[in-house]
């Protein structure tokens, strides 16, 4: 087959989409579904700006081919909160001032969401290891780690 339709559950909603074989999940999300929260950075899986959750696990949107994701449940930053309200972790990022330019933020939040789902009381070391694949060029990471730690220690907003 040359291209095909795939069924993805994106942020809880079933989407049937026709995609070329070599289209990455990142391109499908951004350009076909209008979900531009995941960012195109290096397109090599290194920077982490495109990180989304596939079946609850953080993966690189730029390294996954949409056609190979049939039946997967995808969570993007647009699906993190409830309706217009932010998730606890998102609120913690705001409270800690963990956002500067914002380019890495959606990837950071999704990687951190997956980390806390697995380790709700993650230590600083576990948070640093869990976010090691997400590069931020503004903050120096300190406030991002503070925000995740606030939720992990129950000091969240």
């Amino acid at each position: 087959m040359i291209g095909a339709t795939v069924t993805l559950t994106v942020n809880g909603r079933d989407r049937i989409i026709a995609v070329p074989v070599d289209e990455t999940l990142l391109v499908t999300l951004r350009e076909r579904l209008g979900l531009t929260g995941a960012k195109l950075g290096c397109n090599q899986g290194v920077c982490g700006a495109c990180t989304v959750l596939v079946d609850g696990r953080p993966v690189r949107g730029c390294l996954a081919l949409s056609i190979n994701c049939e039946g997967a449940a995808i969570t993007t930053i647009e699906g993190l909160g409830e309706g217009r309200s932010l998730s606890l972790l998102q609120q913690a990022f705001v409270a800690a001032g963990a956002v500067q330019c914002g380019f890495c933020t959606s990837g950071m939040l999704l990687a951190a969401t997956a980390l806390l789902a697995e380790k709700p009381a993650a230590s600083v070391e576990e948070i640093r290891a869990g976010l090691a694949g997400n590069i931020c060029r503004c903050t120096g990471y300190r406030k991002i780690i503070d925000a995740v730690l606030a939720v992990a220690t129950g000091r969240g907003p």
Partner: protein
């Protein structure tokens, strides 16, 4: 761009048939390297054969005789978390745990990493030190090669057109052996600047068996019997470690690249060897 065929075989035989039918097609495992190469315009396969539905390629099993089979589609995160990789096999588990970053470990597979054969990839020296065997299937049937014979040159393996990697097999090592993988990298998540994989067994303070492989310092992992002989039967003292590390540094064929100069790599090999062996030896105290 649009002419790429996509296949989803259910069996190894079906996948091999598709590979043989179109030699310009490529197997898609986790995508961590193949899709990155496609994104960079460095690879333009005529077809993609997704292996995700081939059940025989998934999972880690340990047989009664102590061999461990890691299916080619096993993701790095699964290998890193596997309780079946104990003793000397820990060298493979340890290497898996430091590949790139958690999201990449959720995608990349051992088969993909072995097939790509980046000399700086963490699995390569670990598999050589563990005496791993690579199981391959092609239209002529299955064959098995030891890792040392499988990795041939920069990004080159013994894999022939129309063949695919089915599994990595780890032979039972000495029951009391320990395995460690020591990686020197610029930042966490980077490829190794240089790395050392060690499988060590000691009896009453004497090294009874050791396997040492150096990664990222030449076209393929470096393992030397002279270097290991310099350590077996001794107490892993400073002089013996310097000899073993020096032999490996002499045999290395590193290049200057963005991570380090060739000279720097030669300089650090003996130090990394000492650190890796000492670290493994602490488990015997």
């Amino acid at each position: 761009m649009t002419g790429i065929a996509f296949h989803l075989p259910d069996t190894i035989e079906e996948a091999v048939g598709l590979l043989v039918a179109d030699p310009e097609s490529r197997c898609l495992a986790g995508g961590a390297t193949l899709v990155a190469m496609m994104n960079a315009g460095l690879m333009q396969p005529s077809g993609l054969i997704s292996l995700r539905r081939v059940a025989a390629l998934h999972g880690i099993e340990r047989s009664a005789d102590g061999w461990v089979r890691i299916g080619a589609m096993t993701r790095h995160c699964q290998t890193a978390a596997s309780g079946l990789l104990e003793g000397g096999h820990r060298v493979v588990r340890h290497a898996a745990s430091v590949i790139a970053s958690p999201p990449v470990r959720n995608m990349g597979t051992i088969g993909g990493a072995v097939a790509f054969a980046d000399p700086a990839a963490d699995y390569l020296p670990a598999l050589v030190a563990a005496d791993a065997e690579i199981e391959i299937v092609g239209s002529n049937g299955p064959r098995r090669l030891v890792a040392e014979a499988f990795f041939l040159d920069w990004y080159q393996t013994a894999l022939e057109p129309g063949e695919l990697i089915v599994a990595v097999h780890l032979p039972p090592g000495p029951p009391r052996a320990v395995g460690r993988y020591n990686k020197l990298s610029r930042v966490e998540g980077d490829y190794a600047t240089a790395s050392v994989a060690v499988v060590l067994e000691m009896e009453r303070g004497i090294c009874s068996r050791i396997a040492l492989a150096v990664g990222a310092c030449g076209p393929k992992p470096i393992r030397l019997s002279e270097s290991e002989r310099a350590l077996v039967g001794g107490r892993l003292d400073e002089d013996a470690l310097a000899i073993a590390g020096g032999l490996l540094a002499d045999a290395a064929d590193p290049v200057d690249d963005v991570r380090a100069s060739a000279d720097y790599r030669r300089l650090v090999i003996p130090r990394l060897v000492r650190r890796a062996v000492r670290s493994a030896a602490t488990e015997f105290r």
